[in-house]
Symmetry: C2
Subunit: 333 residues, 2 copies
């Protein structure tokens, strides 16, 4: 392979200094229009390619924003990523993505790796981190946004909603239907912090509305999905009819429960109600449609991008953006 073409080569060919080339290629107005076009033409004819590594090093600006998600194999997080990605695209800033698999220890490693790339900002999912992670982030003094949550003790900015509060309308809706015996299906381990908060929100709301203590059903380690929802329901068998309403930590889980119930010949919503969370496609398309909570995943991403834009403009105090959540009535309860 031929040696790389650098600004020095372009400069030599045009007969100017490398500095002028640098300025010209960045469309610096102080370089005369004539020189600029000449430089650009020469650059492209020589096959010059801008070296972002060098710039990143010299300016200490990587042009990256680091993003961590629990999983990308989740339509909601993927939506958030897309919203963020599309909204960032015009700025030329690239996203450096990592998945934590719902494990804070993994998040710590991941963030360490990402920080080594000098990101200009850090976007993380949720408000639960190891102490080391918190220390690492804060000692860097870079803009941080926690999303999908509104932590009590935020690291910096946050864009999200209260997962606990979002369950209140669900429980109220079930109460209004006269449901008596509730259950909540979620993950066993502590990995899914947002799921845990939903569960706690449901428990508190149920207590407040005078329900007997609700049963907490364990669908396995996070991330729980269709398969676990279905698997749990199979294990329960017809005992599932003990309950007349099952709240699920997410729509896929709800869909798994729903499918298994129908396989057993149970009638939803007559025998029991099933609710999900997240307004996934599967909830809207399944027959019957699943009652769920819309959390506008894509808008979270867009809001994060918009906030990042403002943060790059100038420093500002900690922002807290609540995108809200709302009940979407389906046919399952």
């Amino acid at each position: 392979m031929v040696a790389r073409v650098t600004m020095r080569d372009v400069a030599q060919a045009v007969g100017v200094s490398p500095m002028t080339v640098s300025r010209a290629l960045r469309d610096d107005e102080t370089v005369s229009a004539k020189t600029r076009t000449r430089i650009k033409e020469t650059a492209s004819s020589l096959g010059y390619v801008y070296d972002i590594s060098a710039t990143a090093f010299r300016t200490q600006k990587s042009g990256f924003v680091a993003v961590t998600l629990p999983s990308i194999n989740n339509a909601n997080f993927a939506h958030t990523y897309r919203g963020l990605s599309e909204a960032m695209s015009p700025s030329g800033i690239q996203l450096l993505l990592g998945a934590t698999n719902y494990e804070v220890a993994r998040e710590e490693n991941l963030i360490r790796q990402l920080l080594a790339r000098n990101p200009e900002a850090l976007v993380v999912t949720g408000g639960h981190h190891t102490d080391a992670t918190r220390a690492m982030i804060q000692s860097r003094g870079l803009p941080v946004i926690e999303m999908w949550d509104l932590p009590k003790d935020p690291l910096g900015h946050s864009v999200g909603f209260s997962n606990a509060d979002a369950m209140v309308p669900v429980v109220e809706h079930l109460a209004a239907q006269g449901r008596q015996k509730l259950a909540f299906v979620g993950a066993s381990n502590g990995g899914d912090a947002r799921g845990r908060e939903r569960r706690e929100g449901a428990v508190l709301a149920a207590r407040r509305l005078g329900f007997p203590e609700i049963d907490l059903l364990d669908a396995g380690p996070a991330p729980v999905s269709m398969r676990q929802g279905a698997g749990l329901t199979q294990e329960l068998g017809r005992d599932v009819a003990r309950y007349d309403a099952i709240m699920c930590v997410s729509d896929p889980v709800a869909f798994g429960v729903l499918s298994e119930c129908r396989r057993m010949g149970l009638s939803v919503p007559d025998d029991l109600a099933i609710t999900g969370f997240g307004h996934f496609d599967v909830a809207a398309i399944s027959h019957p449609r699943i009652t769920t909570v819309d959390v506008s995943a894509e808008r979270i991403g867009q809001n994060v991008a918009e906030l990042l834009g403002r943060l790059f403009e100038g420093d500002m105090g900690p922002q807290r953006i609540d995108v809200g959540a709302r009940l979407i009535l389906g046919e399952t309860g």
Copy 2:
């Protein structure tokens, strides 16, 4: 913010030269074990963070592999990404991800941006690219892998399967059931090249087995998903019963069609068969389970990672890895 801690600072604190620190942190055996641990301890106590930008610049190796996917909001591509990502993780190489939204023009822009970051290899989905994209890639002389496809005229290496051939067992299976009038549901525009190949594979197989020409139904622009499958079926209404087998370009589409059919009171598979593609969770969990084709998305990612590992070891001629695809019988036909 405090000034960044560099190797120089660590060196000073320990009382050695920066070079020794550099070696120690890379676990170079030539540094004595004692010195190494002392350096590492000091580094971590000073809060030293490795600066990849500097290394990337000095060594001209970015530590990146660039990856393009049509969409990350697709469980199969997400699986591939995860397989790739996990398998690459021990190497310390990071993935730089971009989504093309099923548009070759967008792919061109994206690849241009990604190449400016000096990736050490490029992994793209599919074998259809603009001429400019092909030129750009080939002039760089970096390892390229096309995945999810086995192009006739590959850019470099490929890891995937024949989307056309994968449809053959589906059509044969429907023939064996005595189905008569087939349809294929796919995207209208040319965006989804793999979907197009599946359609062509189905058409050819049907022709070979003596079926009358099969109907090609248009579910809208790629990516087609549950909603489009359901929408198309609603539009068709009871006319859908013209067919006794509907092959869908993917499982989500099939699920949309299935749900709508059941909403209309049609019996699947008695009135008509429905098949999907991709072995998504929804196919295995839905009731009835959807007959589909497994393409081991995660294994594609793992194979790509494994191939990358070998490519970094030493150059080799163009590799072509066929991961195959197999029919998964469900209850919908």
